[in-house]
C-alpha cells in the first residue's frame, strides 16, 4: 500500500473497530439488562454496530488486498493493531454508565456518518449512508434515556452524573483530528471533525441541560486509541471475543 492507501486503511480500521468494540461491550448486557425492553434495545444496537463493523472491515480488507476479510481482521489482530476510540472500551459499569457512554458516542457517530455519506470514496459513502439511518435511532434512544435518568430520581440523577464526570476525559479523542484525519479530509474522503465537534457539543449541551446534568469543566483529555495505544480493558475484551476462532481457527457455523 502507498501512503494514501495506508492512511485510508487506518481510517477504515478506526471506523470498524470503534463499532465492533462497542458492539461487543453492549452484547454483554444480554440476559442482564434491567428491563426486557432495554434488553432488546441493547441487543439491537449491538447488532447494528457489529453489522456496520463488518462493512467497514470488509472495505479495509479489500483495500489492503492481503486476503484478510472482516472476520480475519476482527479475530486475528492484537490490541496494538486495534484503532477504536478509547470510550468504546470503557467497562459497562451500571446501566447509567452504559447509557451515558452510548450517548456520548452516538452524538459523535451520527454527525460523523452524515458527513461520510458525502465522501468522495464510493465504498465509504455507501456504508455511511446505510449506517446513518440506523444510528439515527440509536442517538434518539440514548438521548431519551439520559434525560429520563438525569431528570428522574435522586438516585438515577446521581448515577448518570457520575457516569458523565467519569467518561468526560474520553470524549476529546473522538473530536480531535490527527494526521490521518487531516489527510483524508483534504482528499474529500474523510469527515470534517471540526463540524462533527460543533454538532456533538450542540447535542450534548441541549440533552444534558434538559436532563438537569452539569457538564464537567474543560480538562485534560485522553488520547491514543486511534493510534493503537489502549487502556488495559481492550486486551480482556479481545481475549473473550477472539477465543473461539483462535483456539479453533477452522471452525465454521
Amino acid at each position: 500500500m502507498n501512503t494514501r492507501e495506508q492512511q485510508q486503511f487506518e481510517y477504515l480500521l478506526r471506523l470498524g473497530d470503534s463499532d465492533l468494540i462497542l458492539g461487543q461491550r453492549l452484547s454483554a448486557w444480554l440476559g442482564h439488562a434491567p428491563v426486557l425492553e432495554e434488553e432488546m434495545a441493547t441487543g439491537n444496537v449491538a447488532l447494528d454496530l457489529v453489522g456496520q463493523a463488518r462493512s467497514w472491515l470488509s472495505l479495509a480488507g479489500e483495500l489492503e488486498a492481503q486476503g484478510r476479510d472482516a472476520d480475519r481482521l476482527a479475530y486475528f489482530r492484537d490490541a496494538f493493531d486495534y484503532r477504536n476510540v478509547l470510550i468504546t472500551e470503557r467497562p459497562n459499569g451500571d446501566y447509567a454508565y452504559t447509557i451515558m457512554r452510548q450517548f456520548l458516542f452516538d452524538a459523535y457517530h451520527y454527525p460523523l456518518l452524515q458527513q461520510l455519506s458525502g465522501s468522495a470514496h464510493e465504498g465509504i459513502r455507501e456504508v455511511a449512508a446505510k449506517s446513518v439511518k440506523e444510528v439515527e435511532y440509536h442517538v434518539r434512544r440514548s438521548s431519551e434515556w439520559v434525560i429520563r435518568m438525569g431528570d428522574g430520581t435522586q438516585e438515577s440523577h446521581q448515577r448518570i452524573q457520575a457516569a458523565l464526570d467519569d467518561l468526560w476525559m474520553y470524549t476529546g479523542e473522538m473530536l480531535t483530528p490527527d494526521d490521518v484525519d487531516d489527510a483524508l479530509l483534504e482528499a474529500g474522503v474523510g469527515a470534517d471533525l471540526e463540524q462533527v465537534a460543533w454538532s456533538w457539543h450542540d447535542r450534548v449541551r441541549a440533552v444534558t441541560e434538559e436532563a438537569t446534568l452539569t457538564l464537567p469543566d474543560e480538562s485534560w483529555m485522553q488520547q491514543g486509541g486511534k493510534q493503537g495505544r489502549h487502556t488495559e480493558h481492550l486486551g480482556y475484551i479481545l481475549a473473550e471475543m477472539q477465543h473461539l476462532p483462535r483456539s479453533y481457527p477452522d471452525a465454521r457455523w
Binding site: E37, M40, G43, G51, R54, A129, K130, K133, E134, R203
Partner: protein, 162 residues
C-alpha cells in the same frame, strides 16, 4: 431451456423472510435485481439493516429455490447502495403485514430534523384504534418497534420507518 427473468422472479416468490415468513423478498424490497446470462443466474439483494442476521438464510433459500427448478448455477450478490428503505415495501406486503398482526410503516422514511420527532400515528393491527403508545423503538427484530393499544390493550409490533 433458458428461463425468463419473469419466470425466475415467480420462482423466487417462494423465498420469504425467515423472521416475517408472510413476506417474500420481493414484498420486502430486498430483491433488487435478477439477471440471466451465459454463466447462470445472478440475484442481487440488499440487507434491511447492516447486521440483519437473516441475510445468510435468505441467500441459502434463493439458491435452494432455484436449484429446485433446475437452475444449477446461481450467484447471490449483496449490494448496500441505494440503502434499503421501508418505502420499498410493496402494497401487497403492507396488507400481508397487517393481516399477520404487524402494523405496517406509517408514512415516508424521511430524515427527521428535530432531535425527538413526534412519533408516527400507528393504528392497532388488531382493533384499528389509533390510540396507541410506543413501548420501545427496538423490538424482536431490527426492523420492528414495540407498541401497545390503549383501547384493546394488546401489545403489537410496528414495522418502523427507516
Amino acid at each position: 431451456m433458458v428461463a425468463s427473468e419473469a419466470q425466475i422472479r415467480e420462482w423466487l416468490t417462494q423465498v420469504t423472510d425467515p423472521e416475517i415468513p408472510v413476506l417474500t423478498i420481493e414484498d420486502l424490497g430486498i430483491l433488487r435485481d435478477v439477471r440471466h446470462g451465459k454463466d447462470g443466474v445472478t440475484v442481487t439483494i440488499t440487507p434491511t439493516y447492516s447486521g440483519c442476521p437473516a441475510m445468510m438464510a435468505i441467500r441459502m433459500e434463493i439458491v435452494r429455490a432455484l436449484r429446485e427448478q433446475g437452475v444449477e448455477r446461481v450467484r447471490v450478490e449483496e449490494v448496500l447502495s441505494p440503502a434499503w428503505t421501508t418505502d420499498w415495501l410493496s402494497q401487497d406486503g403492507r396488507a400481508k403485514l397487517l393481516a399477520y398482526g404487524i402494523a405496517p410503516p406509517a408514512g415516508k422514511a424521511q430524515r427527521k430534523s428535530a432531535l425527538f420527532g413526534e412519533p408516527d400515528t400507528v393504528a392497532c393491527p388488531q382493533c384499528g384504534s389509533e390510540r396507541t403508545s410506543r413501548t420501545s423503538e427496538f423490538g424482536s427484530t431490527a426492523c420492528k418497534a414495540m407498541y401497545r393499544c390503549e383501547d384493546c390493550l394488546e401489545p403489537f409490533d410496528y414495522f418502523k420507518c427507516i
